[in-house]
């Protein structure tokens, strides 16, 4: 090793000098010996590596594709899909190893998801006048009916969460497939975690009764209201897979496969490019009540007005579940849907 006699002052000055360079100071305030400054400059010049522009763009594209692409993709995913599923509640998913017959049955479900996502998207797009629309024509998914039959005169202070406020990531189709696998196997085992029926099979003008419960505390209310707001913003963005980000795994499974098997109409919407529909925005319906249910979930209750000629008030629920400190939509009941 080359001997040296380190002077504390010199080391401090060099450190200050290098810190000034690091902080982008145009002229370092600290002075060091000229030949040492020249050494620093030469080393910095030799080591400063500007990556090829195509590399920067390619890596960014890979990162975004892996994070937001519609399928698991063939490129190496830098974000572990399993971890992404953890966003909601990995601990809640059934963890048993499926037997061969179940795997075989699930293969049909998975294939249906992939094929339906492709074909259903095309069919669904073709059915829309003027091109693809993210707003489904009805059914359970038409949860916040924007009222395209007779325009509703909203009060002046009505809030319409804009699409730009839908800032959550999408859930990838590969993740949805995994969620459906677990839920499907759960159904096979009769282990659905709901302890009372909620998702309506038919048009029901009056809400099914909810269990009694206390009001939630202010922090819980604020957290749930934020998810509620973002959820409607994502509705207005026409981005179903971003809505799914705000839903629990069971919630996603119930939305896509209310009877345990995905339907063509629901899966097909996964393939539709998110597109906001101008003039068809969903409002932030005022919350009537946030009720703590006996199973620990929270019901967000709000009312909607039906379209003419039946302009009754309808009760709607969003049921939230907490996982790892965050709240997710676990189930929905839509009074005006049918």
């Amino acid at each position: 090793m080359t001997p040296f006699n380190r002077q504390p002052d010199e080391a401090d000055r060099l450190d200050d000098y290098l810190d000034d360079l690091a902080m982008g100071e145009p002229a370092p305030r600290s002075t060091i010996e000229p030949d040492l400054a020249q050494t620093v400059a030469r080393v910095n010049r030799s080591g400063a590596a500007e990556a090829p522009p195509h590399l920067k763009a390619a890596i960014w594209e890979d990162l975004m594709s892996a994070t937001y692409a519609g399928d698991a993709g063939t490129m190496a995913a830098p974000i572990d899909p399993g971890a992404r599923i953890d966003r909601s509640r990995s601990g809640w998913l059934p963890t048993f190893t499926p037997d061969k017959s179940r795997s075989s049955r699930f293969a049909l479900v998975a294939a249906a998801v992939a094929v339906f996502a492709l074909i259903g998207g095309l069919v669904y797009s073709a059915m829309q006048p003027g091109g693809p629309s993210p707003t489904p024509p009805g059914g359970n998914y038409a949860f916040f009916a924007p009222g395209d039959a007779t325009p509703i005169a909203w009060p002046e202070d009505t809030v319409f969460p804009p699409a730009e406020d839908c800032t959550v990531p999408v859930v990838r189709v590969g993740e949805i497939t995994a969620i459906l696998q677990s839920s499907y196997e759960g159904w096979e085992r009769g282990s659905s975690q709901r302890d009372f029926p909620l998702t309506p099979a038919d048009n029901v003008p009056s809400a099914p009764p909810l269990p009694d419960g206390e009001a939630v505390d202010a922090d819980t209310a604020a957290a749930i209201e934020e998810v509620y707001y973002t959820y409607i913003a994502c509705r207005n963005a026409g981005s179903i897979r971003q809505e799914f980000w705000l839903m629990s795994n069971d919630g996603i499974a119930r939305a896509l496969a209310p009877n345990g098997r995905p339907t063509l109409g629901m899966i097909g919407m996964l393939a539709v490019e998110p597109t906001p529909v101008p003039g068809n925005a969903v409002p932030l319906y005022p919350i009537e009540e946030l009720r703590l249910l006996p199973d620990g979930r929270v019901a967000l209750i709000y009312q909607t007005l039906g379209s003419a000629p039946v302009e009754d008030q309808y009760i709607n629920y969003l049921i939230f579940v907490e996982h790892n400190g965050s709240w997710y939509i676990d189930d929905r009941y839509c009074g005006t849907c049918g």
């Binding site: 080359t2 040296f4 380190r6 010199e10 080391a11 401090d12 060099l14 450190d15 290098l18 810190d19 360079l21 690091a22 902080m23 030949d35 040492l36 020249q38 050494t39 620093v40 030469r42 080393v43 910095n44 010049r45 030799s46 080591g47 400063a48 590596a49 500007e50 990556a51 590399l55 920067k56 890596i59 960014w60 890979d62 990162l63 975004m64 892996a66 994070t67 937001y68 830098p78 974000i79 572990d80 971890a83 800032t167 959550v168 990531p169």
Partner: protein, 197 residues
């Protein structure tokens, strides 16, 4: 993208307020990570390349670093984003070296001479750059790491965080490193032929 240069001091590290806003936005939506990526890509790539002396591997490490960072961003609470990001890069480099040659000491692997440069690289890099790079290879692993992080633009406290050491140790190490480099560069004519071959 225009960068606001208003600075605040968080602990020992200054940050600009634009970066704080980018981080907050990216924690809500990873697509907002773009300006952070734009700001730090070259520095991370350079650090990986200077550490590993392999452009292809450096590209892989850079990709892995940003992927890890984006995944961990919701949990980010550090004072220095740059220090946090380079800690991830440093760990990715260490992991990569261990994967490549699990039985070889880290120091030996980092001392592996550069591969033969392509004609294009020779033209671009120039002999002077190669000469300094060869000298960096002669430093100890610690010294080389500190210098590589300095080249990447990190401050002393950030380097201390990345390497898990004290600011005083970084100060002493970098002084030894730059003193040795100064000495070697002053002997350039005698050493040059022997160092690059």
């Amino acid at each position: 993208m225009e960068i606001t240069l208003k600075r605040e001091r968080w602990g020992d590290v200054e940050i600009d307020d634009a970066e704080a806003r980018w981080i907050a936005a990216a924690q809500r939506d990873l697509r907002a990570f773009a300006p952070l990526y734009q700001r730090y890509f070259d520095a991370v790539y350079g650090y990986a390349r200077n550490s590993l002396r392999d452009p292809e591997l450096a590209a892989d490490i850079t990709s892995e670093t940003f992927a890890r960072a984006m995944k961990a961003l919701p949990r980010y609470r550090s004072n220095s984003f740059r220090g946090w990001l380079f800690t991830i890069a440093h760990n990715a480099i260490v992991d990569s070296v261990r994967r490549r040659k699990p039985t070889a000491p880290f120091d030996d692997l980092l001392m592996t001479p550069d591969r033969d440069p392509s004609p294009e690289e020779l033209v671009l890099a120039g002999e002077s750059t190669r000469w300094v790079s060869a000298l960096l290879d002669r430093l100890t692993e610690n010294q080389r790491q500190v210098v590589a992080l300095r080249i990447a633009g990190l401050t002393g406290p950030e380097i201390a965080d990345v390497l898990g050491t004290s600011v005083g140790a970084v100060k002493a190490t970098q002084f030894r490193a730059y003193s040795r480099l100064r000495e070697w560069l002053s002997d350039e004519p005698e050493l040059r032929d022997g160092a690059i071959r």
